[in-house]
C-alpha cells in the first residue's frame, strides 16, 4: 500500500488555490484543499474539489486526434502541430489573419496566457484574443 498527499495548485482558474492530491497506489483518488495555503485557506470551489475526477475521466484526451472523413483518428503531436500550422497558414492566406480568433483559458498559467496572446498578435497577426474569465 502506497499512499501520498501531493501538494499542487488548482488548475481550474487563475486564483491558484492550493490543493493536495490524495494518491493511493499511484492513483489520484481525491482532492483536498490545503489548509495552510495563503490563497484559499482550506477552502475550495466545486471545480477544485473535483480535480481528480477529470484526471481519471475516461473522456480525458491523452493524445491529439485528427478528424479525417468525419471521424476522429489518433495521431502524434508532430503531425497534429504541423497540420494545425498548415491549416492556419491556408486560412490566413485565403481570408486574412483577422479570420482567426484565439480563446485562452484560466486553466493555464498567466505566463502561458501571455504567450498565447503573443502568438495571436505577433505570429498570426490578429487582435481577436479572448479569455474565458472575461465571459
Amino acid at each position: 500500500m502506497e499512499c501520498k498527499l501531493v501538494p499542487s495548485v488548482c488548475s481550474y482558474c487563475g486564483t491558484g488555490c492550493g490543493v493536495l492530491f490524495e494518491v493511493i497506489n499511484n492513483k489520484i483518488v481525491g482532492t483536498l484543499p490545503m489548509k495552510t495555503h495563503p490563497v484559499n485557506e482550506g477552502k475550495l470551489c466545486i471545480k477544485g474539489w473535483n480535480l481528480h475526477e477529470h484526471v481519471n475521466s475516461i473522456l480525458r484526451l491523452k493524445q491529439p486526434l485528427v478528424k479525417t472523413f468525419g471521424r476522429f483518428m489518433k495521431t502524434d503531436w508532430d503531425e497534429a502541430i504541423q497540420l494545425t500550422a498548415d491549416r492556419f497558414k491556408e486560412i490566413i492566406a485565403k481570408h486574412g489573419p483577422d479570420s482567426i480568433g484565439v480563446l485562452v483559458s484560466a486553466k493555464i498559467t498567466n505566463e502561458e496566457n501571455y504567450l498565447a496572446q503573443k502568438l495571436a498578435r505577433a505570429v498570426i497577426g490578429t487582435n481577436n484574443v479572448d479569455h474565458c474569465a472575461r465571459l
Binding site: 500500500m1 502506497e2 492550493g18 493536495l20 489548509k35 475550495l44 470551489c45
Partner: protein, 273 residues
C-alpha cells in the same frame, strides 16, 4: 511518540502510520511506512487538521486487512468510533497515538481555541448566525427569525460540496446530494434548504462535531450549529451520543419500544401571519 511509532512500524504492529510532515513549509498528512522509517523523525503534530481517518478508510477500502496507525485528536477518535459503527473500519485494525486538541464542546483534553472559527462581522451577526453561538441561542430564535437567519445563511451557499467532501464520516459511494430527485444538478442556488437539510438528516447520529465542514465552507455557513442540532435531537429521541462509543447506530427497529405520543394538531394562535 516518534519512538513508539517507529517501533510499531518496525515490529509490523501497523503497516502504515498516518501523521503530518512539513512539505515546503506546509504541514500535510503523511503516510509513514517501514521502508522510509527515517521520515518519522520529521513527524509534526500539525495545528492544521486534515481528516486522517478518511484517508484511512480509503486505504482500508483498497486493502481490508491493512493495519493503520494514526495520530488522533479527540475529534479523530470520535470519527473513528462512528466509522466503526458504520462498518467502514474495524477497531482491531486501527491503533492511535493521542494528540491533545480539539475545538469541540465535546473535547475532553487540552484547549485548542485557536482552531475555532474566525471572527464574524456585524452584518452577519445582525441578519445571519454567528458561528460562535451556542446551540441554545440558535434554538431560542422565534419561528420567523430562525427561518430568516438560517435562510440568509443558506442563500450564500455556492454548492461546492466542500462540507460533504471534507467530512470524515461521509463515506457513501453515491451521495444523496448527488441524487437528481433530491438535488438537481446545475442550478445555483442549490435547492435550499433541501440541500442542507438532506445533509443534516444524514448527519444525525454521525456528525462528530470536528468543525472541518465549517472550516472548509467558503461562505461561512454555521454548519456546526446545524449538525449539533440534529445530534441533539438524536440524543433526546434515541438517547444516542454520537461518536462516544462503537455501539450500533440508533436507527434500528427490532426490540425498540417507543413511549412518545404523536403531537396533537394545535390550532394556530395567530402569532405568525
Amino acid at each position: 511518540m516518534k519512538e513508539q511509532i517507529k517501533s510499531w512500524l518496525e515490529q509490523g504492529t501497523v503497516d502504515v502510520f498516518l501523521g503530518y510532515r512539513e512539505v515546503d513549509h506546509h504541514p500535510i498528512p503523511w503516510c509513514f511506512t517501514q521502508e522510509a522509517i527515517e521520515e518519522v523523525d520529521d513527524l509534526v503534530v500539525s495545528p492544521a487538521r486534515y481528516s486522517l481517518e478518511k484517508i484511512a478508510t480509503h486505504m482500508a477500502a483498497e486493502d481490508p486487512d491493512i493495519r493503520i496507525g494514526m495520530l488522533a485528536r479527540d475529534c479523530n477518535n470520535r470519527a473513528l468510533n462512528v466509522l466503526y459503527v458504520w462498518n467502514q473500519l474495524r477497531p482491531e485494525q486501527v491503533v492511535t497515538v493521542e494528540a491533545n486538541c480539539c475545538p469541540s464542546p465535546l473535547k475532553e483534553h487540552a484547549d485548542c481555541s485557536y482552531l475555532e472559527p474566525g471572527t464574524v462581522g456585524a452584518y452577519k451577526k445582525a441578519v445571519g448566525i454567528d458561528n460562535h453561538l451556542r446551540l441554545e441561542a440558535v434554538e431560542a430564535y422565534g419561528p420567523e427569525e430562525g427561518r430568516n437567519r438560517w435562510m440568509y445563511e443558506f442563500q450564500k451557499c455556492i454548492k461546492c460540496y466542500g462540507c460533504r467532501n471534507i467530512c470524515p464520516v461521509c463515506f457513501c459511494r453515491e451521495c444523496s446530494l448527488d441524487h437528481d430527485d433530491l438535488v438537481g444538478t446545475g442550478p445555483l442556488l442549490p435547492d435550499i434548504p433541501i440541500f442542507h437539510l438532506v445533509r443534516a438528516v444524514h448527519m444525525a447520529g454521525r456528525c462528530i462535531d470536528c468543525g472541518l465542514c465549517e472550516d472548509a465552507c467558503p461562505m461561512d455557513i454555521p454548519l456546526r450549529l446545524l449538525y449539533q442540532k440534529v445530534n441533539r435531537i438524536a440524543m433526546d429521541l434515541f438517547d444516542y451520543r454520537t461518536g462516544t462509543s462503537g455501539d450500533q447506530p440508533p436507527f434500528s427497529i427490532l426490540g425498540d419500544r417507543v413511549t412518545l405520543e404523536p403531537k396533537p394538531i394545535q390550532p394556530v394562535t395567530g402569532a405568525e401571519a
